[in-house]
């Protein structure tokens, strides 16, 4: 549940979600669930050439299973905290 907990902390921040089909969508993280399904607000497509029809939509729901990356704002990530948390997790707490 580490990712779920972490993503909940990112709610309200700008993220870019890159899907497995190479589509990248930028928006404000509205919510995330245990399957890492992601809802974004004020979304816009990063690479408009590939999906020109999907310009700015208000809200977008992305299935967790098709997400390749979630790109985080640099100032939205405290690397040290995350690093410690994941190390604790990897060691079994």
């Amino acid at each position: 549940q580490l990712f779920f907990s972490y993503f909940k902390e990112l709610v309200g921040k700008e993220v870019t979600v890159e899907l497995k089909n190479d589509l990248a969508i930028r928006g404000t993280l509205h919510s995330v669930d245990q399957y890492l399904n992601i809802k974004l607000e004020n979304t816009r497509v990063v690479d408009q050439d590939k999906y020109p029809h999907m310009l700015s939509v208000r809200n977008c729901f992305i299935r967790g299973s098709v997400v390749r990356y979630v790109l985080l704002p640099q100032d939205g990530v405290d690397i040290d905290i995350l690093h410690d948390a994941t190390r604790r997790e990897a060691r079994g707490g």
Partner: protein, 259 residues
């Protein structure tokens, strides 16, 4: 100009009234990935994505997989679908079930399409006229892995062939655009009902090595912006998450993050 269908009595829908039509290919284990094809009369190899749908009961409603617990969630009359870059079909009825989205044409009985929520990778309300002339629910559909072709000529499909050219985008246009937000919510709800089966199997296993999703990937990021040099290799050791049995990690993280 509002189109309304008459006489579709959902209270006596075939979902409960008619017996499930036995198909020897169906196993009774409710595996979501088999449900999408259960009702296609012609024998079709399993494949993801949008399919023709023709299993319609006498009252014009789709036959659902009662045995697997498929239920109707909502119905939108006066709904049209536009597949890929094709023009919208003439209006029909949209049936949202706990497993699938089914659209049946009103004008052409027996013409319909269905796609499982497992294959709907993204959905959004589109109101930007530059993106599409009508407000609609925009959806992306997981096509077959080896598909290169986008929309072929649907009309050239032999009628017995229920396979469609690889449709990766579908728009749903409602006569009443104000209903789009609740349709969006219905799609969210049903998507949450249909988590990836491999995700469920791996629920107790290490997310870093799990199937799909954002395992580890977001730590890599692009341009190593978010990568810390010398990130501890322990990070990638497979260990079940959430099975430390001791500390509540999530609250530890939360506490630390609070300023």
């Amino acid at each position: 100009r509002v189109w309304r269908s008459q006489d579709t009595k959902l209270s006596s829908t075939s979902a409960t009234a008619k017996p499930f039509r036995k198909n020897p290919q169906i196993s009774h284990a409710p595996r979501p990935e088999t449900l999408a094809l259960c009702f296609v009369p012609t024998t079709v190899p399993m494949a993801p994505g949008l399919k023709r749908f023709t299993d319609v009961a006498g009252d014009g409603t789709p036959r659902l997989d009662d045995a697997a617990g498929e239920e109707l969630v909502c119905v939108e009359r006066a709904a049209s679908v536009a597949l890929g870059s094709r023009a919208p079909e003439p209006p029909g009825t949209l049936f949202i079930t706990t497993r699938r989205v089914i659209w049946l044409s009103e004008a052409e009985k027996g013409r319909g399409y269905a796609v499982g929520f497992l294959d709907i990778t993204l959905h959004a309300v589109s109101r930007d006229p530059e993106a599409y002339p009508s407000p609609c629910l925009y959806t992306q559909i997981e096509a077959e892995a080896d598909s290169d072709e986008e929309d072929g000529d649907l009309d050239s499909e032999a009628d017995s062939d229920s396979q469609l050219p690889k449709i990766s985008e579908m728009r749903i246009i409602l006569a009443d655009a104000a209903q789009l937000d609740s349709l969006f919510d219905a799609f969210c709800h049903c998507a949450e009902l249909n988590p990836d089966p491999t995700a469920e199997e791996n629920e107790d296993s290490d997310l870093f090595h799990g199937e799909g999703m954002t395992n580890g990937g977001w730590i890599h990021g692009d341009e190593d912006e978010h990568m810390v040099d010398g990130i501890d290799p322990e990070f990638f050791i497979p260990n079940p998450i959430g099975q430390n049995g001791g500390d509540d990690l999530s609250s530890s993280v939360l506490e630390v993050c609070i300023d």
